[in-house]
């Protein structure tokens, strides 16, 4: 059996997002081998009901976007579909620039974002981790955020490439000036 089968079994059993490092450890393989297994699993799942949801450091099995309408009728939980202007701006910065500190977010938005960050953390839409330098937290994309956006990885967002191009063009222009 291929590594993809073990990854699938493990993620099915856990049912919640798993750190890629924990997957590698449970399988007794290196992180790079997990990546190969992930690619194989994604390809195989393609015709069924499940998809592999991937953030920078986690993996999770979820239902396919094509099923979302049907699933919506099956499930009971009320989905809070509103994130507001401030929430959306903060999420955009985290999606395209994350992991990113509060100071960076504040500086881009020109306002204090601590209240909205707390709100997004409580809703599970973002995750925080200690920064390498040790000063405060860095915020990054969480699996539930991708679940709510209906994509299995952030690169699949409809305008991901376009926005990334714009950001690159901006930075190139800035460097040219200095």
């Amino acid at each position: 059996m291929g590594l993809d089968v073990y990854i699938e079994g493990l993620l099915f059993y856990k049912a919640v997002p798993m750190k890629k490092a924990a997957v590698a450890k449970a399988l007794g393989v290196k992180l790079e081998e997990v990546s190969a297994g992930v690619a194989a699993l994604k390809a195989r799942l393609n015709t069924g009901a499940l998809r592999l949801l991937e953030t920078d450091d986690t993996l999770q099995l979820v239902t396919a976007p094509e099923l979302s309408h049907f699933m919506e009728g099956v499930q009971k939980d009320e989905i809070r579909g509103d994130i507001g202007k401030a929430g959306a701006e903060t999420l955009a910065i985290i999606l395209y620039r994350g992991p990113v500190t509060r100071a960076e977010i504040d500086s881009i938005r020109g306002v204090n974002s601590s209240y909205i960050l707390r709100n997004l953390l409580i809703r599970g839409l973002i995750e925080r981790s200690s920064t390498k330098s040790g000063g405060g937290y860095a915020f990054s994309v969480s699996p539930p955020l991708l679940q709510h956006l209906g994509v299995t990885e952030k690169q699949h967002l409809p305008d991901y490439a376009r926005i990334l191009d714009q950001l690159e063009a901006f930075e190139t222009a800035q460097q040219a000036e200095t």
Partner: protein, 246 residues
């Protein structure tokens, strides 16, 4: 009613969380690109909005005032090119354009996110309790460890004033800021704005009055006469020519 007031009408009813959001809205509303010319041209509207905010003692006004200072410098410079700015000031003007461009990219991305959020959900399994009840305590399951853990939780509780709701006066008011700038320009240009200022008492009038003078200088509606080589330059304003903003 002047044109400036009309333009402000719909802006007034909107609530802006931050100064960049307001500024971008003003620029985009006129379908302008972001550059020093467009920023200078929306300065009046920006000042009007902040002036209203201040009058209503809205929270976070100070944020908007800080950016207003940069905008006024930018506008003053565009109208009075001889005005000398410090390197810091030049940078803050350049930075403003850059910050606004970067903010615009994320703001646009945010609009799409808002439309997409919650539209197509990918579901994870519901929680299924184990069939036979387990009991798996670990080394952390002691009163000592949990006491320490709750202590940590209590220490980390956020301060409740995090949510911006207190209505505080901004640390620096628009008037103070304009006073300072006016003083500088007076020094540099040796003009007599103060004479005009004496005629107006309301702070809003000071603000728009100042902007109006800058406009008048630009438009050549002001008679500048040099009385002698070493004298002050006097500015004479025809009262009918001053736009009435209020």
């Amino acid at each position: 009613m002047s044109t400036a007031t009309n333009l402000n009408f719909s802006i007034k009813t909107e609530v802006f969380e931050g100064p960049l959001e307001l500024l971008l809205e003003l620029v985009e509303r006129r379908k302008f690109l972001i550059n020093d010319i467009s920023l200078a041209s929306v300065t009046d509207e920006y000042m009007q909005y902040v002036s209203d905010m201040q009058e209503e003692s809205l929270p976070n006004t100070s944020r908007f005032v800080a950016l207003a200072a940069t905008l006024l410098l930018l506008k003053s410079k565009s109208l009075l090119p001889v005005l000398e700015l410090t390197q810091d000031e030049e940078e803050s003007i350049d930075n403003l354009e850059e910050r606004l461009r970067l903010y615009q990219i994320y703001r646009d991305a945010a609009k799409n996110l808002m439309n997409q959020f919650g539209q197509t959900m990918l579901y994870e399994p519901l929680f299924a309790p184990p069939k036979e009840p387990l009991f798996l305590p670990d080394s952390l399951c002691t009163v000592e460890v949990l006491h320490a853990a709750i202590g940590e939780v209590v220490v980390q509780l956020p301060k409740t004033e995090e949510k911006p709701k207190a209505r505080v006066r901004p640390t620096i008011s628009l008037e103070e800021m304009i006073d300072k700038l006016q003083h500088r320009i007076e020094q540099q240009m040796k003009t007599r704005f103060s004479e005009l200022k004496q005629e107006v008492t309301e702070h809003k009038e000071v603000i728009v009055g100042f902007l109006a003078i800058l406009e008048l200088v630009k438009q050549g509606n002001v008679l500048v006469k040099q009385i002698s080589r070493f004298d002050d330059i006097e500015i004479e304003v025809e009262q009918t020519g001053v736009p009435n903003y209020h």
